[in-house]
């Protein structure tokens, strides 16, 4: 190197080296084995595995329910974060701690309790059943479970940004004649939008990979309520390793593309905000 510029922060080379090694070991290597195992199959065998109608139906269930759950979480997560940041009320800290519970709770526990609640003879399901609304063992039930596990992601990403947004900014908007919803759509929302998108992406990604809580409430009916992770497990149990990794590979690529797209969107939104 002809000219070596010295930064103020030392250790860039070392820390970058560790980062790369660590990521390779912990993330890239396991993911690479998915590719390697899938390569056992011929192209046509791979293609027929991943386009099997039952598999395609499970993509639809997983991505559809995950998207719906992430969307619901985005709306209500913002509301929860707003309430926690803007208002002082007794029990605020308790509510704040409650938000993290889905992080810590074993997902199977969540699945079992949600199934019981929403079953046609459960506390909530019992009231909905007479109207012909079924939640447990349907697509809706899956979404409910995914909403439960995804909530903290949105709340925790939006909260600090809302914290940063001074009340004075809203007061300024009001003094300039803006109505409440105008203040929200023109001032508050554009400011939290990037964080909201991050929260959405995290909740979405988490939902796609979720297994434990969903298998109980979904009923696992092929073509209807079967999610991709379950299908993969099923294939593994049948010692169809190549088939399992094929489906996993499709999931992997699809998730990566989605997250990349969301990241690009977010990058564009951040640039508009300009730090």
């Amino acid at each position: 190197m002809p000219s070596k510029t010295r930064g103020v922060l030392p250790g860039f080379g070392l820390s970058l080296g560790i980062t790369c090694t660590y990521l390779s070991l912990m993330v890239l290597l396991p993911l690479a084995t998915v590719f390697v195992r899938t390569a056992d199959l011929s192209w046509s065998a791979f293609w027929s595995t991943v386009t099997d109608p039952r598999v395609v139906a499970s993509y639809r269930v997983t991505f559809g329910a995950s998207f719906a759950a992430a969307l619901v979480n985005t709306v209500f997560g913002l509301l929860v974060a707003w309430v926690l940041v803007r208002y002082q009320f007794p029990g605020r800290r308790l509510v704040d701690a409650l938000v993290d519970l889905p992080f810590a709770l074993p997902t199977a526990v969540a699945g079992i309790s949600l199934t019981t609640l929403y079953a046609s003879n459960g506390w909530i399901g019992g009231y909905l059943d007479p109207f012909g609304i079924k939640i447990s063992y349907t697509w809706v039930g899956i979404t409910v479970a995914l909403i439960f596990i995804g909530l903290p992601f949105v709340v925790r990403t939006v909260q600090p940004v809302l914290d940063d947004l001074e009340v004075e900014v809203e007061e300024a908007a009001a003094s300039l004649g803006a109505k409440r919803w105008q203040t929200f759509t023109r001032v508050v929302f554009p400011t939290v939008a990037p964080a909201l998108l991050t929260g959405f992406a995290l909740a979405f990604a988490r939902a796609i990979g979720e297994y434990g809580s969903v298998v109980f409430i979904s009923g696992n009916m092929p073509m209807k309520t079967e999610i991709v992770p379950l299908l993969i497990i099923t294939k593994l149990e049948q010692y169809d390793y190549a088939g399992a990794t094929s489906v996993a590979l499709v999931m992997l690529i699809a998730s990566f593309m989605l997250l990349l797209a969301i990241n690009l969107l977010q990058w564009a939104a951040r640039r508009r905000l300009a730090a």
Partner: protein, 352 residues
Amino acid sequence: MSIEVRNLRKVFGDFVALDDVSLDVPGGELVALLGPSGSGKTTLLRIIAGLEPADRGSIHFHGEDATDQPVRERQVGFVFQHYALFRHMSVFENVAFGLRVRPRRVRPSAAEIRESVMSLLKLVQLDMLADRRPSELSGGQRQRVALARALAVKPKVLLLDEPFGALDAKVRKELRRWLRRLHEEVHVTSVFVTHDQEEALEVSDRVVIMNEGKVEQSGTPEEVYEQPATPFVYGFLGDVNLFHGRINEGRVKIGEGELEAPEWADARDQAGIAYVRTYDVELRRVRSGAFSLEAVVRQVRAFGAVVRLELDLVDGGGTIEAHIPRGRFDGLALGRGQTVYVSPTNVRVFAQ
């Protein structure tokens, strides 16, 4: 547009922020609310703006009751200490905000908005930076954007909460002169809050001095400085020396000396304090007159047109400060440790 504030009271928990405050701001004036922190000045401003409800009392704008009007209908321009700009918007969009959120019926056309925003930006000398983001501006520039934004809605009154408080000393000085000039141009009734006496006295037409939720005095800068109504105002505006003594039948006895205080003719042996501005003292090398206190020079700061002396009173009355013109100081030929006789030329006595 004038502002009339009547009997305002505001309590936070058990802290009385405003205690029966009344105030008149004549239309077109620039008024400073001056006071130490916790004196209630910001609370008063926020209640005038409608950002805070009053517990009791009323606000009228030009005779029209505005007490229960929400802030967005009051048509006030509010400028915050920390600017409160919309950071995701350009300077132009910040200023245009108040016009863009109007209902369609009364919203100006895009061309009209463009024109009025650009003319405002020209007024605050930021027309070159219309496309920048607030984060790309200096503090002084940001506050000018905030001011232009507030003026864009043609407010009835302009309210500024410590507008220069977050800026460094030099920019602050520039900006307050600029605010004064701007006020002469646009002539909107303005109230600004400050804890900086110099700022209040230099910029405003009228100063309202507040302390512990009450108005202590209200008047022109000259009035409040030259004729302080209360001991608090005396102490808060400018440097002052205190002489403790006894008041009896129109005379005040302080140490060896005695002063005339005709306004206290009815007082009978009462504790009192005489307030004397640091520049209202005469220093002599020999004793003269009825009131002449002996003192020893402790410290001399002889730079600039005014020489500042610290004097120890010989009879144990503490230390006083004297500011005398340089020429006079040279004539006295004083030095540290020398004896001098102090005679106040202008005294105001308050009972304790």
